[in-house]
């Protein structure tokens, strides 16, 4: 049997804020890696076997 638990409003709010923070962190990381790629490789980013 799967065990479940009712979570409180405070726990729901905290979970939502953690999810938003993780989403923001991931978006920043994606942006950072995009910038690193473009800045390090420049136009050579396209110079690869397709």
């Amino acid at each position: 049997m799967i065990e479940t638990v009712e979570i409180t409003e405070a726990e729901k709010k905290a979970r939502k804020s953690r999810s938003v923070a993780i989403a923001v962190a991931l978006a920043v990381l994606v942006g950072a890696f995009y910038a690193i790629t473009v800045l390090k490789l420049g136009s050579a980013v396209l110079n690869r076997p397709l």
């Binding site: 479940t4 638990v5 409180t8 726990e11 938003v20 690193i36 800045l39």
Partner: protein, 314 residues
């Protein structure tokens, strides 16, 4: 309603619960005030280094160094959770106060460590990445897990972890493992750490004693600690003028460093002349502790400002 892993979420009282930790609690695990110092000293290392770096790459590198420092702070809090519960100064931290589970902190610290090292390595170079990895290892393992509870030299040797950031900043630009300039900046922070921490430890001997941490005042007593603080301050004052004689700082920096170094040694001397221990030392110890914080920022700010000004003026 939520499905939960009762084995992981089980609390001490037998009830399962979902975490109510907020992002702010996780931010607190990064030791933001220590991060400020790390960011600033790494930035100085990066700016004074010969050569140039793309500003965005530089910014990403500094952020990666900051996150790496924060990760080591989280790992330190995970390892020290048992003694943090005992000390008044630390018992409101996220783990002892019950806001974040220990396992979550460990995972958080490891994930951020890997991410920060990989990001720094890719953004700048792997010498800088390796230095950051070593710094995290040194703080989390060598200092936190080994030295802190075993020797009164804990913060002397462990202080190296806080002294590495300028070397990392330098490596971001040059790709060099070590340089004279980086070593001098390392030495300044390394010599600054004992008087800074022992000024605090002099006021907290009871707490450190209760937690069984062999801080210098607990092991050799207040008098010998005050003497050591003074001699470290003299050594620090001498090290602080070294950038001028090594040729990477000018007269303005020399003037600021001499004045600040003299003042630091004077405050340490005042502390040494104050008789007694514990609360009797509170006045001069607090003054020295607060001054030491301001001192390091001011010293590195002087070096940074002078370097930028001289470059702008050509």
């Amino acid at each position: 309603m939520a499905f939960i892993d009762t084995q992981q979420a089980e609390t001490g009282n037998g009830y399962a619960r979902v975490s109510s930790a907020t992002p702010r609690d996780f931010y607190e695990l990064l030791k933001p005030r220590v991060m400020q110092l790390v960011v600033f000293t790494a930035l100085v290392g990066l700016v004074i280094a010969p050569g140039t770096v793309n500003p965005l790459i530089g910014a990403i590198s500094i952020i990666a160094i900051a996150i790496g420092a924060g990760a080591s702070g989280a790992l330190n809090m995970w390892y020290d959770a048992d003694i943090d519960r005992i000390m008044g100064r630390t018992k409101s931290r996220p783990i002892p106060s019950g806001r974040v589970a220990e396992g979550d902190v460990l995972a958080f610290g490891i994930v951020l460590s890997v991410l920060s090292v990989v990001t720094l390595g890719l953004a700048s170079n792997w010498v800088a990445g390796a230095w950051l990895a070593f710094t995290i290892f040194f703080y989390a393992v060598v200092y936190s897990a080994w030295l802190k509870r075993s020797t009164p030299q804990n913060i002397v040797i462990g202080g190296a972890a806080g002294a590495f950031p300028p070397i990392i900043g330098w490596a971001v630009v040059t790709g060099e493992w070590i340089s004279l300039e980086g070593f001098i900046l390392f030495l300044i922070i390394f010599l600054w750490t004992p008087p800074h921490f022992w000024a605090l430890a002099l006021m907290k001997t009871e707490e450190y004693g209760a937690a069984k941490i062999p801080m210098m005042p607990n092991v050799v007593g207040a008098e010998k600690t005050k003497t050591q603080i003074f001699w470290y301050s003299v050594a620090l004052a001498l090290a602080c003028v070294a950038p001028f004689f090594a040729g990477f700082a000018g007269w303005a920096y020399l003037a600021v460093a001499s004045a600040l170094g003299g003042l630091f040694a004077f405050r340490a001397w005042q502390l040494k002349l104050t008789p007694g221990e514990g609360r009797a030392l509170q006045g001069p110890a607090v003054k020295l502790f607060l001054f030491s914080l301001w001192y390091l920022f001011a010293l590195f700010a002087a070096l940074l400002a002078e370097t930028i000004l001289l470059r702008v003026l050509g």
